[in-house]
Assembly symmetry: C2
Homo-oligomer: 149 residues x 2
Amino acid sequence: MELTPDWIVGFTDGEGCFFVGVQKHPEMTAGFQVLPEFVVVQHERDIQILYALKRFFGCGVVRRNHGDRFAYRVRKLECLERVIQFFEKHPLKTKKNVDFRKFRRIVMMMREGRHLDKDGLIEILSMARTMNTGQRPKLEEVLKLLKAG
Amino acid sequence: MELTPDWIVGFTDGEGCFFVGVQKHPEMTAGFQVLPEFVVVQHERDIQILYALKRFFGCGVVRRNHGDRFAYRVRKLECLERVIQFFEKHPLKTKKNVDFRKFRRIVMMMREGRHLDKDGLIEILSMARTMNTGQRPKLEEVLKLLKAG
């Protein structure tokens, strides 16, 4: 299956997600690890779409998400940069583009190593909490901890 | 906002729905009315996408769906035919294309007036029950009634 840039933009406007997770990591200076990812989830009947996305971007992985749903997931920074370059050249048309721009900013900050100190991490997570639905209780908790510590 | 055909295909692969409803209608010979529709639902923050689709197809309506969600909805047969022609020329890439082909068949049968007699109606609803998730208790009930009567 051959995907075109415009199709990928339309499909991502519908199904794509730019997500920034956070998890405890005692070896990191600030105690937490930032995990930005680009994800597209589909029912297994459309797994071939996920593999086509993987071929298109030339990186990322297709794995079972949960139940009968699979995900194309990009986590490596160099692959995320490829994805980011694509959506800079071919902008999303929905408000998901607002999330994309925050996501890009966060990945850029990580390239500069800003996530490695507390102030940068607070800035990153404060931006991440305003992305997607904005319902991020775990992230709020980490932010509170960081600001208190 | 300018939409391209490929973007519309990708977005519909993600967010579009080809749905065939049925409702009681005492004035119809078979007692029931078939209601095919093409629908795209979005959160109100992306209502401009729905209006752009309406402009692109030159017909259909944008209305509140429920809560903070709005829908672009095409129900008129002549407008559905325009939508169908578009997706014949620019095929969907996901398995939604299977639903689309059933939908097209149903709209063609309606053009031939096949929904007006009981046998045609049974054929149409038997096809509709296999579309989308396939969870259609009301439709199953109507089919049982028609086959018994």
